[in-house]
């Protein structure tokens, strides 16, 4: 069925709530209001107050309570109103949730949904891409879908996963893309990247909203005779190294693309692994396209200069292709 990215997430959540009575939701304004972005709209009416909990403005309590409930065998899905506010629950995530299994063998099967990303003129506190903070924390899984089918398939897998999963939803994709999404019990495995475009000359490794930027750039480059392969990581932790390395070995040139800022972003980690494991397959330096190391600015010309876009990717890809 055709649906938006936003509807796909909602459908995935609804199906899991129907399938498993231990799945419940908690977050700010998610019940009566249906959430700041209306992802959970209608779910209170369908499942009742016990399973759709409107919380106080208490991210640390939301995450901590999700941990406690998951230790008791429930499957909480917590919503951060914006990914930017995840910092307010940071300790619970990186020190409590992430370390339970390693330290004392306890499973924490919970999901934290976090609307992230820029391009909506949200300014420094409603636009960030905080995924790398969590990729850096062993014990957490980090997912960032780019398409409606992946959004549904991955939210379902995240809910079923027995480890804590951070689910980054890109706000700019919510209503922008409408795609065919398989009905019924369809899941996408966590930890598996997808080659979403086959190509010969260079590989763009990316995720989230930047997959669409990469596609746009690839179309332009195609007309210039440059054949681009695109790998959509889909999961950032654990990284699907095999798919990345296979693509690098095939094209011998790689451009790493993310909307997050350059320093400390996933691109650095990918570059390290590619350099370690596929150095001899490379015909050119590894290229990174990412946001500059600044907060996300508010004013349109500044935000436009900040965000990676197809023009910036195309320019660097041309250089790489010519190298």
């Amino acid at each position: 069925m055709e649906m938006t990215y936003l509807e796909a997430i909602r459908q995935g959540i609804r199906e899991e709530m129907t399938r498993d009575s231990g799945v419940f939701l908690l977050g700010e304004d998610i019940g009566v209001y249906g959430g700041a972005f209306k992802i959970t709209s209608g779910l209170l009416q369908e499942f009742g107050e016990k399973r759709v909990i409107d919380t106080p403005i208490s991210e640390s309590a939301i995450v901590g309570a999700a941990i406690g409930a998951s230790l008791m065998g429930l499957r909480p899905v917590a919503e951060m109103q914006f990914a930017d506010f995840i910092t307010c629950g940071y300790d619970q995530i990186v020190n409590f949730a992430a370390k339970c299994r390693y330290r004392w063998g306890a499973a924490v099967p919970m999901v934290i949904r976090a609307p992230s990303g820029g391009g909506i003129h949200g300014g420094p506190f409603h636009s960030q891409n905080p995924e790398a903070w969590f990729v850096h924390t062993p014990g957490l899984k980090v997912v960032a879908p780019a398409t409606a089918p992946d959004a549904k398939g991955l939210i379902k897998s995240a809910i079923r996963d027995n480890d804590p999963v951070l689910f980054f939803e890109h706000k700019a994709l919510y209503r922008r893309i409408k795609e065919d999404v398989p009905d019924g019990d369809f899941t996408v495995p966590i930890g598996k990247a997808a080659v979403v475009r086959q190509g010969r000359d260079l590989s763009i490794i990316t995720y989230g909203a930047m997959v669409h930027v990469a596609r746009e750039s690839a179309e332009t480059l195609e007309k210039e005779g440059i054949s681009v392969e695109i790998v959509d990581l889909r999961t950032l932790a654990p990284l699907d190294e095999d798919t990345v390395l296979a693509s690098v070995r095939k094209t011998s040139k790689v451009l790493l693309l993310h909307e997050d800022v350059l320093t400390g972003g996933i691109g650095g980690e990918l570059a390290g692994r590619i350099a370690e494991k596929a150095f001899h397959d490379l015909d050119a330096p590894i290229v990174r396209v990412a946001a500059p190391d600044t907060p996300v600015p508010y004013s349109p010309p500044l935000e436009e200069a900040f965000l990676p876009n197809a023009a910036k990717v195309t320019e660097r890809a041309r250089w790489l292709a010519r190298y």
Binding site: S58, S60, H121, H126, P295, Y298, F306
Partner: protein, 334 residues
């Protein structure tokens, strides 16, 4: 009507014509500026980001702001526009801020009320609710450290008091006996969340005694009541007795933000609180006390509208920042 002289905090404000007229000027300016932003410019697509206004809550920032001395530190919430006006920020700069122009206080780096000016001792909020509460404690610590008589004012909504930062900040200030005045605008909703879903106690002020902080409840739509409470609170804090909390009962007479129709608010609440509009109430009092004539009040409003028209015109002429400014200001220029 000429601008009334700046009043000293120790003046008996209860019967003071000066306070009334000055408060009216700031409250009406705040209302006019925010009405234009929320109901005109936002709808015309001239403001691309979020808009949060304090309609119906103007008596709080004005009542408290007019009791502060210029060297006191202000940590506004996102509904305290008047604090900026009282500290001399021009409406032009506010419109430019909302429109992402270089004429705004953040030169387009941030939008709406996410702005500050350290030269005016206004500390910018970040978006995360209650994050300013521990920061206000630190500012107060510095004021005390330096041996000044100044204090810090920290503003927040009812919802913010659910955050851990709020509790840590209050406790720290109380233990250290820091000169902080906490001003809660209890407008009964946090986004769509009503008070009953936010806290199990009846009042925000009920939370203060647990930290050893005195607190009082005031009618947040009565600028005189707010002003008197702020003076009591400031007196306490300045005397070295530690922090003090004022809970101003009020109502958010609009959606959470410009895109929120607030259908979750029952009509009866809108009706009830419309009757208590702080500006209408103040004007009624001014007329009853014969502090000014109806025509003078009308002229005040007309003057404000003109000033606001000119401010918007100025802001629209203020350029957008050049993309080359993107990298500026992450660190001190070396």
């Amino acid at each position: 009507m000429s601008a009334p002289a700046v009043l000293q905090p120790e003046t008996d404000m209860h019967t003071d014509r000066g306070l009334a007229l000055q408060a009216l000027r700031y409250m009406a300016t705040m209302r006019e500026v925010e009405d234009r932003i929320e109901r005109k410019l936002y709808r015309q697509g001239k403001i691309v980001g979020g808009v949060y206004v304090g309609r119906g809550q103007e008596a709080i920032s004005v009542g408290v702001g007019l009791s502060a001395t210029p060297d006191d530190v202000l940590c506004p919430s996102h509904r305290d526009l008047a604090l900026f006006l009282i500290r001399g920020v021009d409406p032009r700069q506010i419109f430019a801020q909302y429109m992402g122009r270089v004429g705004g206080l953040t030169r387009g780096k941030d939008g709406n009320m996410h702005m500050g000016d350290i030269s005016r001792r206004i500390v910018s909020i970040i978006s995360a609710m209650a994050a300013s509460v521990p920061v206000a404690a630190g500012a107060a610590l510095a004021l005390k450290y330096r041996g000044t008589q100044n204090i810090a004012y920290c503003f927040f909504g009812d919802g913010a008091t659910s955050r851990g930062d709020w509790h840590e900040g209050l406790n720290f200030a109380a233990v250290q006996k820091l000169p902080v005045v906490y001003v809660c605008n209890n407008n009964q909703y946090a986004y769509s969340t009503p008070l009953t879903k936010q806290m199990a106690c009846a009042n925000v002020s009920d939370r203060a005694p647990g930290y050893g902080i005195p607190a009082e409840i005031v009618d947040g739509n009565d600028v005189f009541a707010v002003h008197r409470a702020a003076q009591r609170a400031a007196g306490h804090a300045r005397s070295g007795a530690g922090p003090y909390l004022i809970e101003c009962k009020t109502f958010r007479m609009t959606g959470h933000s410009a895109h929120d129709a607030a259908e979750y608010v029952p009509q009866s609440l809108w009706d009830e609180w419309k009757e208590k509009d702080p500006i209408t109430r103040l004007e009624k009092k001014i007329l009853e006390k014969r502090w000014a004539k109806r025509e003078e009040i009308a002229r005040l409003h007309a003057g404000i509208r003109q000033e606001v028209d000119a401010a918007i015109e100025w802001a629209e002429k203020s350029p957008y920042p050049d993309a080359s400014e993107l990298l500026d200001g992450v660190y001190e220029r070396s």
